[in-house]
Amino acid sequence: MSRRVIGGLLAVFAVILIFGYSSTIPLGDDDPRPVDESAGTGGDGSLEEVGESIYEQQCSGCHTIDGSEGVGPSLAGLYGSDVSMEDGSTVEVDEDHLVESITDPNAQTREGFPSVMPSFSNLSDDEIAGLVAFIQSLE
């Protein structure tokens, strides 16, 4: 490495160190953000949109919508399919089964998955209906 290259690298290093870091602390921007009233519920959208919004907020950590397995089973093509349970039984996924799985998930557990899902019984009936509609819409 020539002296010029070394000097250049030292200069780059020093510039990042001094100017980069002295600008790290955000100054003067202490005003809170205005309230976004549309946040959280998916606004005035359709049932399906409400469901999609809740899905992204609360379900997508474990359940994919592209068919791949996460912590829990994928929601893609779930509705109407026959699934096997840990206790050996087979269940057809209908609305009742979806509602039960959301509000009392550990009543039955899908074969091959851990029983770790928390209950979402705090969701309102409309929100649960939205989720069911969203899951129904997934091919």
Partner: protein, 155 residues
């Protein structure tokens, strides 16, 4: 032992730097009244969802301009995930976890505490300015950790 003059100067300087830092912290504690978390009670984590006050999480007015926010943290959400209070309210957050270790921090405030199963966390903050304040879970709590958040709405 031989200590050189320059060494002595530098060692003294080091002591000065650290003492100045400690004084600054003391000022923040005694003058500005900033406190870190301290014991606020214990709870059986398995029964947390059925134990008062966490069986009914929510925001309660305790006195004029004073509120208590009872927050239950569980995988992967805060109950409630929206806390609405009028501007100028002093809000005491009383929190616990129903399962694993969580944490909470509210943007633009000094509210930052762990939420540990078995322990009750208590933090107080006065929200002067209206607006929306994001709060997030800041301790890894499983695959849905990044979905765990909420907001304080100050009106």
């Amino acid at each position: 032992m031989v200590i050189d003059r320059y060494e002595k100067i530098f060692m003294l300087l080091g002591v000065v730097i650290l003492v100045v830092g400690l004084i600054a912290i003391a000022v923040s504690v005694f003058h500005y009244g900033l406190h870190v978390s301290r014991p606020a009670g214990r709870i059986d984590p398995v029964q947390a969802r059925n134990t008062a006050p966490f069986d009914e999480p929510g925001v309660y007015e305790t006195d004029d301009g004073e509120y208590e926010a009872v927050v239950l943290a569980e995988t992967w959400r805060f109950l409630p995930d929206e806390i609405r209070v009028p501007a100028g309210s002093e809000v005491t957050f009383r929190m616990t976890s129903a399962d694993v270790v969580h944490g909470i921090m509210i943007e633009k405030t000094a509210v930052n505490t762990m939420i540990i199963p078995g322990q009750i966390s208590e933090v107080t903050h006065t929200f002067e300015q209206p607006g929306e304040y994001l709060f997030v879970c800041h301790e890894y709590c499983g695959t849905g950790h990044h979905l765990m958040s909420g907001r304080v709405v100050v009106e």
